[in-house]
């Protein structure tokens, strides 16, 4: 009997310790040897596996940048595909260390969900896409009264949609799906007249449709959608690492440090570049975060600066050809701005 009781208490204690996550995410990540990064199940340009199964995209590269900062090796990422409804529980439960999945930064998500958003890696806005072949003459979202609209559940999109149609006194018929693929299939099958999500997503989706040229994205942008990576609340060190990885990529672009020239930039005479790349004597650029001092070299060497990652995945070098727009550097008319790395 005594043995049994000891056994029960022992296993309970074991469960208890296993279920309570350790506070230091950095230590956990280092022990695992990889960053578990929650990404989209397959959104072209942002995160989607290619024909060899390698994850490609803007968000996927951000995951790699964090891995490069922590390990000095951009390949040490475990990509965890999550759908719109799973993503938050995956982060809350500790299944992933970092969520980089087209997630809109909102007040309630920042507070009651127990997350911290580490910045905005893509300024987006919600739009509508229609099949111009089937609906000739529609060139504004304000003409959509009475339309059936496909939307994914659990998104800010769903709420903006309701607000927009109410504000404009228009009727609509929501067709709500849980999965990205089911929503796309229903739109393609003609179940809905319009598809709504962030404009970046619409452009990405359009390319995957059978006849992309038949579909047009309407000009109206009905919401602000600042998309950014998120981490769990309560671990400031990890929050700082992810936040400054994004800032470092933006800073690198500002300073003209690219994936190709980062090694030779290490010898630059510019004191700012030397500081950012951790080449100053007694540099604390990394140790203040719990990283190596040349971590920014590894980040830029691993994935490139912000502009390179943007152009390669969703910009002019990609099939999506999304213009930089708001995502241009602040020096060039956009709003991407990094606090000083010092």
């Amino acid at each position: 009997m005594k043995k049994l009781v000891t056994g029960i208490v022992g296993s309970a204690a074991l469960l208890m310790s296993a279920s309570v996550g350790s506070a230091a995410t950095l230590d956990d990540v280092k022990a695992k040897g990889e960053v578990a990064c929650g990404v989209h199940t397959g959104l072209a340009g942002f995160a989607a596996p290619d024909d060899q199964g390698n994850w490609k995209g803007f968000d996927a590269d951000f995951c790699r940048a964090v891995a490069a900062a922590v390990f000095g090796d951009a390949s040490k990422v475990k990509f965890v595909p999550t759908n719109a409804t799973e993503r938050f529980t995956a982060l809350q439960s500790g299944e992933i260390d970092l969520l980089a999945r087209n997630t809109t930064w909102t007040l309630s998500r920042d507070t009651s969900l127990g997350f911290n958003f580490t910045g905005v890696n893509y300024y987006d806005g919600q739009g509508f896409m229609i099949n111009a072949q089937k609906l000739p003459g529609i060139n504004s979202a304000l003409q959509l009264s009475g339309a059936a609209v496909c939307v994914q559940t659990g998104t800010t999109t769903e709420l903006n949609l309701a607000d927009y149609f109410r504000a404009n006194n228009m009727e609509y018929n929501p067709v709500v799906f849980q999965g990205f693929d089911e929503t796309n299939a229903a739109y393609e099958a003609g179940r809905c007249d319009a598809y709504t999500t962030d404009q970046s997503g619409l452009y990405a989706l359009r390319l995957t449709l059978a006849n992309p040229d038949e579909h047009v994205v309407l000009p109206e942008i009905i919401s602000k959608e600042p998309l950014g990576p998120a981490v769990r609340q309560g671990d400031d060190q990890w929050f700082d690492i992810v936040k400054w990885t994004l800032f470092a990529m933006i800073q690198a672009e500002e300073l003209g440090i690219t994936q190709a020239n980062v090694e030779e930039m290490k010898g630059s005479d510019n004191p700012e570049i030397k500081r950012v790349l951790g080449q100053e004597p007694e540099s604390k650029i990394g140790s203040m975060l719990g990283l190596e001092n040349d971590w920014i070299v590894k980040v830029v060497g691993g994935v490139g600066n912000y502009g390179e990652v943007f152009e390669r995945n969703i910009g002019q070098e990609s099939p999506l050809k999304i213009a930089r727009g708001l995502n241009q550097l602040w020096t060039k008319g956009g709003v991407q701005y990094a606090p000083p790395v010092r």
Binding site: T85, L113, A148, L159, D163, P174, V175, A186, R191
Partner: protein, 396 residues
């Protein structure tokens, strides 16, 4: 233990309390209850602690918050200003709706196919067998997808809707029917229907008594048919046809007006009915085969014809075998309705998921799901048990 045995050695007739089955039973039950409550207490405490640590707010207060989203199909009034609590009620009603109509259709279909499989007609028996074997061996989700995507992609766009009799239309947005707009005096029609039903029950009772007394029979079925069709028709004419129809019209995007049955509901309803009917058919077949052949022969020997033999001798006995497994098929259908999320039918699970995502209250929503499905299943079981008791053969 050994020391206790020696203590009682002076009284050989008394058994050690350790070996008394009654006391042992109590001890083990107390032990199980204690371990169970300790486990629940620990899980509860651990959850609360982890939620607090992760800075996740908890509690059921979110149910009173403004939902902010719209639902495509709702039996009660709902819009984005309604609360999350009301949204979950909408979901529950949608689940109940698809479960109830699904159970009715599956039962009718299942009985027909089950009896068809026993038919002497080779073609009917084989068709029924193929039906059962196909649907019993496919996962229900695939059947739902077949109905949703398979049928959706074949049906034409709203502009080329297929016109059906009585001003109804079929297109990729669903099935459109004319809607009756009731006018003054319309209450006469449902009232007539109620009167007809009461009259049928009274006539059935009277005819049974008369048959017991005199042996004479009365054509109850025919009378019932005449009453249930005739009385409402008379009432309609008497009130001067108190309704008009609103027909579906071609709108900018879709047919407007009339009532619309959405493809999400149709595909889920048809898939669940067809899938479950295959299982019910097998249960019905087993029930009928379970009545020994001697019963039929005895009835024939008494001079009963085939119809009364089936109705009075075979079916009542078969029902005893059929009802208990039928209950679990009904429960399966109800629970399978949660596959609605894959076709976007706003059932309890789908709306719960939306709520979970907008509020982040995963544990609370999951607990509501579990409670509601448990409640649905238990009430259905209770009803079927009551029905079973009524149908069970009373031995005299």
């Amino acid at each position: 233990m050994a020391s206790q045995d020696t203590l009682h050695a002076s009284d050989p007739a008394r058994v050690s309390w350790m070996n008394d089955p009654k006391i042992r039973g109590i001890i083990f039950q107390v032990l199980v209850v204690a371990i169970l409550s300790a486990a629940i207490y620990w899980i509860w405490g651990n959850t609360v602690e982890n939620l607090r640590r992760a800075n996740i707010s908890s509690g059921y207060g979110f149910l009173n918050g403004r939902s902010g989203f719209d639902v495509s199909q709702s039996l009660i009034h709902f819009n984005a200003d309604s609360t999350f609590g009301r949204a979950l009620i909408v979901g529950l009603l949608n689940t109940v709706l698809v479960a109830v109509v699904g159970v009715i259709t599956a039962t009718i279909l299942g009985f027909l196919i089950g009896i068809g499989r026993l038919s002497g007609n080779w073609l009917i028996a084989k068709i029924c067998m193929i039906y059962v074997e196909i649907f019993r061996n496919i996962p229900p989700l695939l059947v739902i997808f077949f109905w949703y995507l398979g049928v959706l992609s074949v049906l034409p766009a709203p502009r080329d809707s297929i016109g059906l009799p009585f001003g109804s239309y079929l297109n990729s947005r669903g099935f459109f029917l004319p809607k009756a707009i009731w006018e003054e005096g319309a209450w006469l029609i449902p009232a007539a229907l109620v009167v007809a039903i009461i009259a049928i029950f009274a006539i059935a009772r009277w005819s049974y008594r008369r048959q017991m007394k005199t042996g004479q029979r009365f054509p109850v079925l025919l009378t019932a048919l005449v009453l249930i069709l005739g009385l409402p028709t008379l009432a309609t004419l008497a009130a001067g046809v108190p309704f008009t129809f609103e027909y579906p019209q071609q709108g900018a995007f879709n047919l407007t007006g009339g009532s619309q049955i959405k493809p999400e509901f149709l595909s889920l309803y048809l898939a669940l009915s067809f899938y479950t009917a295959a299982f019910i058919a097998e249960i019905v077949r087993a029930g009928i085969l379970g009545v020994s052949r001697g019963q039929t022969e005895a009835a024939n020997a008494l001079g009963l014809r085939a119809g009364p033999t089936l109705r009075l001798v075979v079916v009542p006995q078969a029902m005893r075998i059929i009802i208990p497994p039928l209950t679990s098929q009904y429960l399966n259908l109800t629970k399978n309705s949660s596959l609605a999320v894959f076709v976007g039918y706003p059932d309890l699970v789908q709306i719960g998921q939306t709520t979970m995502n907008q509020t982040g209250q995963a544990i609370e929503v999951v607990s509501i799901w579990m409670l509601i499905y448990l409640g649905l299943s238990l009430s259905m079981s209770l009803f079927m048990n009551w029905f079973n008791d009524r149908m069970a053969l009373v031995e005299r």
